[in-house]
């Protein structure tokens, strides 16, 4: 596959364009995705390439907009709906959770709902409490949905294309701070298999499961700790539902220690699930230390940049905690 560098946002845009070129059933809708190019520039000039019928600016109406996408999917279209911020999906959770997630099951398998929801998420932009949430755990709790969280431009495109192909409703959480990062992205239309985690760095002393932007912070921490002779294995979770239990368990059996790093609120966040599925598995007997969770603090995201940074895991804190975990400080 040819390789070149694209930003995370450009990778998504390329995926959207290729999907629309390949399949006329595919169209995208959302707020200000047309001439404005999307609040984060993801859709860019797609409206000029594909026209207003396939790049639809919606009124500001998330319940209706998302619900219309669900209805269009059931009726044979392949809509990709962009929430301008995933926080606004709370206005549409009825259509996502009560309708899209359950429709196939309620109808005894007589229908499918091939809709994709793009969910820009996360803090770090100074947008405060209502524009900075990480709600992946909330939707990850819902059977019938598939919930993904890419950390690289390559996965951002590959997961999007896999999601568009997928006959079931898929939510893709895109951390806003990742939109500008660059990485190599194959030109072809390729798919990143849904439900598979990946080991981003091999290690022997501790397994760190991280998602989205925390993968990068975990890798930074691993680099720093390597200098101290601590070998950290970093697993990029990639999929919240389904979760790749096998990859995690295998790693923990090898390293005998587990830490989970995630930006969402710690309590009832994805770290809780990963901890629990290891604690109930055969890997439990391999554990040499308590399972550590590093998640967002138990508060809304504050506006003050000082507090905003303090509200989610940062590299130095991760380093410190992992050191303790490995050195037996815990």
């Amino acid at each position: 596959m040819t390789v070149r560098e694209l930003s995370f946002a450009q990778a998504i845009q390329e995926g959207l364009a290729q999907a629309m070129e390949a399949d006329e059933r595919v169209f995208i809708m959302g707020e200000d995705i047309g001439v404005y190019g999307g609040a984060f520039g993801v859709t860019g000039d797609l409206v000029h390439r594909f026209g207003e019928d396939r790049v639809r600016d919606t009124p500001i109406a998330e319940l209706g907009g998302a619900g219309v996408a669900v209805g269009a999917a059931v009726a044979g279209a392949r809509p990709v709906y962009e929430f301008q911020f995933s926080d606004f999906s709370l206005l549409a959770s009825e259509q996502i959770i009560n309708q899209a997630a359950k429709m196939r099951y309620m109808l005894g398998g007589k229908a499918s709902v091939p809709v994709v929801f793009r969910m820009p998420c996360g803090s770090g932009t100074g947008a405060a409490a209502q524009h900075s949430q990480s709600l992946e755990a909330m939707f990850g709790h819902v059977p019938g949905l598939k919930v993904l969280e890419p950390s690289t431009p390559e996965d951002a495109k590959g997961m999007l294309l896999a999601a568009i192909d997928d006959p079931d409703p898929v939510l893709i959480f895109e951390h806003k701070l990742l939109y500008k990062i660059k990485g190599h992205v194959p030109v072809e239309m390729y798919r990143t298999e849904i439900g598979k985690a990946v080991v981003r760095r091999e290690g022997t002393d501790v397994s760190v499961v991280a998602a989205a932007i925390m993968v990068h912070k975990a890798l930074e921490a691993a680099e720093i700790l390597a200098a101290e002779g601590i070998n950290v294995e970093v697993i990029d979770l990639r999929s919240i539902r389904p979760i790749d239990t096998a990859t995690i368990i295998e790693s923990v059996k090898k390293t005998t220690r587990l830490a989970v790093v995630y930006e969402g609120v710690k309590t009832l966040g994805i770290g809780a699930e990963i901890s629990a599925l290891v604690a109930e598995s055969e890997a439990f007997d391999y554990l040499d230390a308590p399972i550590m969770r590093m998640g967002g603090v138990e508060s809304p995201i504050p506006y003050s940049p000082i507090l905003e940074k303090a509200a989610v895991p940062q590299t130095d804190g991760i380093v410190e905690n992992l050191r303790k975990l490995v050195k037996g400080g815990i």
Partner: protein
């Protein structure tokens, strides 16, 4: 709006009203049959519920048969409908077979939803029925989306959304109608205004006296019809369908009607009077339709009785079929959560 009046405004032959001019005797017979099918299905359902043969709850549409059939009778299987919690009538109106509906009620694998959905999710996707909905107003964005799918593929079909007077106060109503209007979608919104949302009258729940008044807020036509008169309902629907299929956009039809049964099994009718119920029973849409058909000399009593007998047979057979159905096995509880990547 009484049966008498309507009959008056109707003449046989060339200058008969559109409902009679545009439909063959066969089509009229099928419409009447479906109204009877709904009535008898609901009565049997109620009976089997009382006898403890089904669990959960159910919402009966007895008294509202004219709107279900009058709206659906000219739709093809490629036209979509979204239904409500009170959806048995819409399902039959769109062409479903009662035997699979009974089977669904009894939670059998033979049911339309293989026993997973039950009364509140009954659907026959093959005939374009995207399903009843347990969420009041839940079908409004879905039907609007189905209409968008039709438009995206440049189809000539139409999507129809049934909803109640209570649902008209949900935000989903507002967002859906606005989107349909600005995008000019081929959708018809059919409000079955039976005067109450559970126990709350439209007077206590809704700021306007007629739901149709709200159509102006979406720049779409809003018409009010006698929901118990199938001809009135169907003629309003012809206009709305025409409009939708010509690419002229959405319409709102308000069918004034009444449910003569309680909201659901737990209803003790504390919020309305016996007199009110009795008064509406005098405007029962089925006798009204039969009287008109006879008055116009389209069917005689013998022919009408034949329809009723057929319905009795269908319902009895359907009930028997369902009772003999297969119970799901517990090992299939995870089936169909996903199309791919789950248990098939």
């Amino acid at each position: 709006m009484s049966a008498a009046q309507t009959a008056k405004s109707t003449k046989k032959g060339s200058n008969a009203r559109p409902f009679y001019a545009k439909h063959s005797k066969e089509q009229l017979r099928l419409a009447l049959k479906r109204m009877w099918l709904i009535r008898r299905f609901e009565e049997m359902a109620e009976d089997s519920y009382i006898r403890g043969l089904t669990h959960g709850t159910m919402h009966l549409s007895i008294g509202q048969e004219a709107s279900a059939v009058g709206i659906c009778m000219d739709l093809t299987d490629k036209d979509y409908i979204t239904s409500t919690h009170r959806g048995h009538g819409h399902c039959i109106g769109k062409g479903a077979e009662v035997k699979y509906m009974f089977a669904e009620f009894f939670g059998k694998e033979e049911g339309y939803c293989r026993g997973r959905g039950g009364s509140m999710h009954i659907a026959d996707v093959a005939t374009g029925n995207l399903g009843a909905n347990g969420i009041v107003g839940g079908g409004l964005p879905l039907a609007t989306g189905a209409a968008l799918a039709i438009k995206q593929r440049k189809g000539k079909d139409v999507a129809v959304c049934f909803f109640g007077d209570g649902a008209n106060n949900e935000g989903a109503f507002h967002e859906s109608l606005n989107i349909a209007a600005v995008w000019n979608l081929p959708v018809v919104y059919v409000c079955e205004n039976n005067q109450y949302g559970m126990s709350v009258s439209t007077e206590r729940s809704t700021a306007v006296v007629d739901i149709a008044i709200r159509a102006a807020g979406y720049n779409m036509p809003g018409v009010i019809v006698d929901g118990n008169n199938i001809a009135d309902v169907n003629e309003a629907m012809m206009v709305a369908m025409e409009r939708a299929k010509n690419g002229d956009g959405p319409s709102l039809i308000e069918c004034k009607t009444y449910r003569t049964r309680g909201h659901s099994r737990s209803d003790r009718n504390k919020y309305r009077t016996k007199e009110e119920i009795e008064e509406w029973k005098l405007r029962d849409p089925i006798p009204m339709f039969e009287t008109e058909l006879q008055g116009l000399g389209i069917f005689n009593e013998t022919e009408l009785q034949a329809v009723r007998d057929e319905v009795e047979q269908d319902v009895a057979d359907g009930f028997a079929f369902a009772q003999a159905g297969t119970d799901p096995t517990v090992d299939t509880v995870l089936r169909d959560v996903y199309t791919v990547g789950g248990v098939a």
